[in-house]
Amino acid sequence: MTAPAMDVSAQPKMKKPGLGWPVILIGSILVIVVCLFPFVWMGLSSIKTLKELYSVPPIWWPAVPSLDNYYKVLFESNIPRYFLNSVIISVGSTGLALILAIFASYGFARFDFKGKAFWQAFVLVGQLLPTAAIIVPLFITLRVLGLVNTYWGLILVYMIVTLPLSVWMLTSYFKAIPVELEEAAIIDGASRMGVLFRITLPLSLPGLVAVIVYAFVTTWNEFIFALCFATDSSVKTLPIGLAEFSTEFNTDWGAVMAASVVMTLPIALLFLVFQKMFVGGLTAGATKG
C-alpha cells in the first residue's frame, strides 16, 4: 500500500488496466467481419446474374450489378403480397400486445393483489414454454374457432411470443417512475386512467418504444407458427415466402438472396434507429428490475 494512493483528491486518477489497443482493434475487426460478412455476401449475391452466382470459383464482385433478382422477387413472385401480410400481422399483434401489456404492467407495478406473484410467474412461464409442445392443440383450437388462415389467428397466437416479455419490460419501467407523481395527480382529482395515460405513459416512452420494437421484430421474424397456421397464400408471411423459394432440389439462390434483403431492410432500419432504447429496455429488466 503506497501512501500517495491514500490521498485520493490530490492524486491523479489511477491508471486503469485494460486490453491493449492491438487486442481491441483485432477483436473489433473480428466481431465486425463475423457479424456483417453474411450480409455483405447476401447483398452481393442478390445483384449477380445466374451465371455469376453459379461459377466456380465464386466471383467476388459482379461485373455489372444486375437487378434481375429484385425484379423477379418484386414482380413475378408472391413476395409483395407476403410483405403486406407480414406488415398487417406484425402491426396488429404489436398493437394488441402493447395495449394488453400496458394495462397488465400497470396493474402489476402499482397494485398489490391476491395471487400477484403467481400471475407474474404465469406470464413469465408463457415466454419459456416449448412452442413445439403446443402447436398441435393450438392448431386444433384455431380450427374450432375458424381462425386458421386468417390474420386474426396469427395476431392472437403471437401474443404468446410477445406479451410475456412486453409485460416484464414495462412493469420494471413503470416501477421506476416515482409513485408520488401519480399520488399528487390523484389528490388533484385525476382518475386512475387519467394518471396512467397523462403521467405514467408519457414518462415511460423509452420503455414503450422498446416494447414496440421488440414485439414488431419478433413477430416479423417468427417462422414456426406462421408455417403451421398460415398455409394459404392470402395470409402467408415473408419468412414462409422465403422458405418457399428453396425447394429440396432446386433453389433459386439469386432470388432467395434478393428476397432476404427485402425482408431484412425494414428490421435493420427499425433496429438501427431505436437501438439505444431497445437495448436499454431489454437489459433494464435483467439487471435492475
Partner: protein, 285 residues
Amino acid sequence: MKSQTGLLFALPALIVLFMLIAYPVAYTGLLSVTDAKGNFSGLDNFAAVLKPKVTVQAFINTIYWVFGSIVFQVVLGTLTAILLNQSFFGRGALRAITLIPWVVPGIVAATTWAWMFHTEFGIINYMLTGTGVLQNPIGWLTNKDTVMPVLIAINVWKLFPFVAIMVLAGLQSIPNDLYEAARVDGATFWEEVWYIMLPSVRPVITAVTLLLVIWGLNSITIIYAITRGGPANKTLITPIQIFRSAFESFQFNQAAALSVIFFAVTIVVVFIYIKVLSAQPGEAK
C-alpha cells in the same frame, strides 16, 4: 377494494395468455391419452412414440444441439462483452453491429448461411480450398459428420450477441470501488476479469444460460429451414420430430404424447430458471 383494481388491470392479458397457454397445454395432455377417434387409449401413444429408434436419436440430437450451442454462445458472448466494456472510439457502433445477427430473421440467417456453405458454389469452401486449409470442397450440409456442427455454428452466430449484450449490462453495473480496490493491489487486466468481472456477472450468465437452454429446446427455424432434420435424421431434434409427426404424418395423438414428454423435461428447466432468478439479489420482484 384496492386488491380488485390491480387484478382488473391485468385481467385482459391474463385471459388471453390463459386461453393460448393453459388450455392448449391441458388439451395436449388429453390428446396424448386418446386415439384419433377420441377414445381413451391409456399409454398406447407413449409406447408408440418411444418404440422407434428415431425418437431416442432425436433426444440425443437435441442434447447435442442445445449443449453444443450454449458452450460457444456463452464463451464467445462473454468475451465480446468484455471487449465492448472497454472504452474506445466507436464502441457504440460496434455494440450495434454486434446485435445485428440476433435481430435479423432466423430464416434469413439460415438461408444466407446455407448459401455460404453450399458445396459447389459456396464462398466458405472457396475460401478454405483457396487458402489451402482444405484439399477438396466439403459437403458441409450433406455430410452427416459435419452437418450438426455447422448448424450449431450458425446458431451460435445468431445468439452470441444476446449473451454479449446481457453480460455487458451486468459488467457496467459493477461498482467502481471494486476495481479501485484491485488496482491498489496492482491487479492486471486479466486478474480483474477473473476475480471481479466474472464473479460479478455470474448471476447474469446463469440466467442467460438457462434462457438459452429453453430457447435451444424451442428452436426449430434454423434446422428446419436448412435440413428439415436430414440427412439420415442426423439433425432431427425433438421439436422438429413433433412438428413433422403432426403436420406431415398427421399423427396428432402421437405428436401430443411426444409433446407431453418434451414438455415435462422443459418444465424442469423452466422451474430451475425461475428459482435461480428469484434467488438473485436485486432482481425485479
